[in-house]
């Protein structure tokens, strides 16, 4: 069923009796050309681009829970392309271009809103770094505008500009950045893949990966064995467990990242604002809630919930930056399981097992990457060679030390990002 204004009008006249489920609920077949483990944003996008870009449709996406029930439904919905280093720059730039055409391509409203991302700076040194980053973004073909203090004041007049420790000197504004409705992104890709013939199989947990003579043959699941020519692992925080089924030990440590949302308020915050010195960022959802978060709790965790010290730190940072936030009441908080890589950049690559492919290491930045990651992983699965935008996301870069992408310049070791 295609969606359109006319369809909405017609269903309105027919008491909304004609709407159909967005996707089928098929039984798993005994064999597929490609099995994708993980029905989150990245897995569903991979299936969609395999079908739409490569004409491959004998594909199953296996999800142990429900579609989009993991990190794609638990993030803070920010979409941006403001990276500095070669490798990341071109990848996120490409992903943002895919975002900009996504609703038309999917015929689905993902509520992509290019409201702009504002990164604040608080010293001369940080201004220099912002200029450098902005130039890198412009060289990549994206947009960046350096705002002075008054320019920032015009956009967000309610900040504490004269904070003693971190006075606002200005900001780097990225107009094409913004937000999207996270669940709708998963649903849109799921529907697009299903419409093209991909089987989306929920409540189907992979319990083993069948390998014969170094070649992947299929997977064992809670719904029976499924043979496959190729298998792609796209399971974010659970990457280490699934890869271990194939005898692989990954450079990944899973950590918890918390997020918070307030009660719904009238529109007051037009942009995404980041306060790097306080590890704090904030935007306002279309429903009105202020959505904000901070840094990792900084200990290995699969609990999908965090502890109070980081919650307190985030609240304090929010109060330091924009004291008006103290008027709002926090509605709820939650945590996601982040697949942290040593250098803070992702992995999209083959594995030592023939026919087994890996997509992981998105750290706390996976949401904006969903289209670009799906596009690049589909290319790798279909053509057996990396897409040019993701050629540097190699699994072996930690062992060789060549091609590390450490955006923060802190080193390539766990617990530094």
């Amino acid at each position: 069923m295609r969606y359109s204004g006319f369809r909405v009008f017609r269903e309105g006249l027919r008491r909304n009796s004609g709407w159909q489920p967005l996707w089928r609920d098929p039984e798993p077949k005994p064999a597929y050309d490609i099995v994708i483990i993980g029905g989150g944003g990245h897995g569903l996008a991979t299936a969609y681009y395999l079908a739409s870009e490569h004409g491959l449709t004998n594909i199953a996406v296996l999800e142990k829970g429900y579609l989009g029930g993991g990190n794609v439904g638990r993030n803070t919905t920010i979409v941006r392309a403001n990276y500095l280093l070669p490798g990341n720059s071109e990848f996120y730039s490409h992903s943002l271009k895919l975002w900009e055409g996504l609703e038309g391509a999917l015929n689905f409203n993902v509520m992509h809103s290019q409201r702009g991302v504002l990164n604040l700076f608080h010293s001369d040194g940080q201004r220099d770094a912002a200029v450098r980053r902005g130039n890198a973004m412009i060289n990549q073909g994206d947009d960046a505008i350096l705002l002075d203090r008054e320019g920032v004041r015009e956009k967000v007049p309610f900040l504490d500009f004269d904070n003693h420790r971190f006075p606002v000197y200005g900001g780097l504004f990225h107009p094409r950045g913004g937000t999207a409705r996270h669940d709708a992104v998963a649903w849109g890709f799921a529907r697009g893949a299903d419409m093209r013939g991909v089987d989306l199989i929920q409540n189907c947990e992979v319990t083993g990966i069948d390998i014969e003579g170094g070649l992947v043959r299929g997977v064992q699941t809670t719904r029976g064995a499924i043979r496959a020519g190729k298998v792609g692992i796209v399971v974010a925080g659970r990457s280490s467990q699934v890869a271990a089924m194939a005898g692989l030990r990954l450079p990944i440590e899973s950590h918890v990242l918390q997020a918070f949302v307030t009660e719904g308020l009238k529109p007051c915050l037009d942009h995404v604002v980041t306060f790097g010195m306080g590890h704090f960022y904030i935007s306002q959802s279309d429903k009105g809630g202020l959505v904000f978060g901070g840094d990792l709790d900084f200990y290995a965790s699969y609990a999908a919930r965090g502890n109070l010290p980081m919650a307190e730190h985030v609240m304090e940072a929010g109060m330091s930056l924009m004291p008006m936030i103290g008027q709002a009441r926090v509605l709820r908080s939650w945590g996601g399981i982040m697949d942290m890589s040593p250098d803070g950049s992702p992995i999209i690559d083959r594995t030592p097992v023939e026919g087994l492919y890996l997509n992981c290491g998105w750290c706390y930045g996976g949401f904006k990457a969903v289209p670009g990651s799906g596009f690049a992983f589909a290319h790798l699965l279909a053509q057996d060679r990396p897409h040019e935008t993701a050629a540097r996301y190699r699994l072996d870069r930690f062992r060789t030390g060549s091609g590390l992408m450490d955006e923060e310049g802190t080193g390539s070791q766990h617990n530094l990002h």
């Binding site: 900084f298 010290p309 062992r399």
Partner: protein, 86 residues
């Protein structure tokens, strides 16, 4: 999360600094191969469940190993890192 310092007793998480998996104590020897260093620095079992991590109790400076669950955050036991272990 509360962690028991072997010297000071049970204390709040705020007093501790996390330093990763306790395999940090098993530093490769001087002549170790690149693969051993890669394993030590980068690769992790990353268990969902029981793990052992290395913490520092900042007020007293003690290093300790905590037996902790990554799925519930429960700390089952702690012990001080022995001299010469790291």
């Amino acid at each position: 999360m509360r962690i028991e310092c072997p010297h000071c007793g049970e204390r709040d998480l705020r007093e501790f600094t996390y330093r990763g998996h306790a395999l940090a104590l098993s530093r490769p020897s001087e002549g170790a191969s690149a693969e051993e260093w890669d394993d030590f620095l980068h690769n992790r079992d990353n268990p969902a469940g029981a793990t052992q991590d290395l913490w520092r109790h900042d007020p007293c400076g003690a290093w300790l190993v905590a037996e902790r669950s990554t799925t519930t955050h429960q700390v089952r036991a702690t012990r001080a890192v022995r001299g010469g272990e790291a």
